[in-house]
Symmetry: C2
Subunit: 229 residues, 2 copies
Amino acid sequence: VPLAGKICVSIAATGDVSLLKEQADRAFSLGADFAEIRFDFVSPNRMQAAIDAVRGIRSKAVFTLRSKDQGGKFAGSEQERIEWLKKLAEQKPMLLDVELDTIKENDELADFLEKTPILVSWHDFQQTPPSDELAEILSEMRIYSNYVKVVTTAKSVEDSLRLLELYERTTGLHPVIFAMGDAGIVSRILCTIVGNAPFTYTSLEKAVAPGQLTVKQMRKLYDRIASRT
Amino acid sequence: VPLAGKICVSIAATGDVSLLKEQADRAFSLGADFAEIRFDFVSPNRMQAAIDAVRGIRSKAVFTLRSKDQGGKFAGSEQERIEWLKKLAEQKPMLLDVELDTIKENDELADFLEKTPILVSWHDFQQTPPSDELAEILSEMRIYSNYVKVVTTAKSVEDSLRLLELYERTTGLHPVIFAMGDAGIVSRILCTIVGNAPFTYTSLEKAVAPGQLTVKQMRKLYDRIASRT
């Protein structure tokens, strides 16, 4: 079996939202398998236009409306964010990204999303906590979905290697686990190769998050690996 | 075909040379396939003892007596180094590491090593030169051996990715190409996976060169990759 890692391109919806689909299509033509649309970069009054713009690619898309305390940019209130999350869910994207804290603290949202395929996410922008703590977070996430995303910050390559070992503790899950920062690049590349991440995140051109490779760089690496297996 | 990267452990022969074989055996038991013995760490009056100590593992060994201007530690004169290189060659190790400059500048040594399997090496401790320059160096190396080693210093992960692309320009060679430094770790791991390096270098415990992973860390990664292919 060729070891063919899948690639998701993260698109920060800044500027003209009518160009969102063109950006995603360009990423697909460069070798991305999926696109994450970061709706939190859209100003609230352009949200509906952005949703309309990406309707055609929603079956290959992760929709994300990241909260500020998890590193996002959404300018509206938390109540507005919850309402938009529901509207995003109604679009039936491949996956809707919802932070663990958001879903834990909003029973009504959890109920609303019962039938939506969600990617439960958790971020640490300071460090990579001990593996036992991360395993604990993963088991909390399991309650809500089999698709889980844990992103930490690597201070050394050892942090990356430790995250790659964490995949051994994710039976039954589709986990996307990697670290941000330069020392995290190893985990971004190997999460689909050493780990069984369903995809890794990349950028279209400029990195949206620290340490992100471009879709072109990652595609090249993964194609070479696939051709050798 | 499982993608099974091979691992060479680099052993700096410091301290009691009679322990060299024990160190190599420990590395083999931890999953190393080959051992590089860095004879340049040995004081000249202990060289013969060091050679005797590793006789039993020479068929799995790379013998290296690195010159000072290529980052080595040998304390004797250049003429002494050349004489020891010949004695190391007579041991018939799996590979004898000889710097490109050394062999270029010593026709007599080049003649002497005609029948010795050598690994022609070149290092840059400052940067990763443009790929065309590196390709030029590779074609100079080809004259002396199919086993070639090009090691640069990565200032960014882009340097690592560029080196991995250089493998596409090595037809007919067994190239070991990677970068030192934290940003080079990606290339140390992937040189046998994305590239076709016959092996990657690791340390037994503490890193001998900047960015080196331990044999244990690398073995774990490679075993996981092999089990997934």
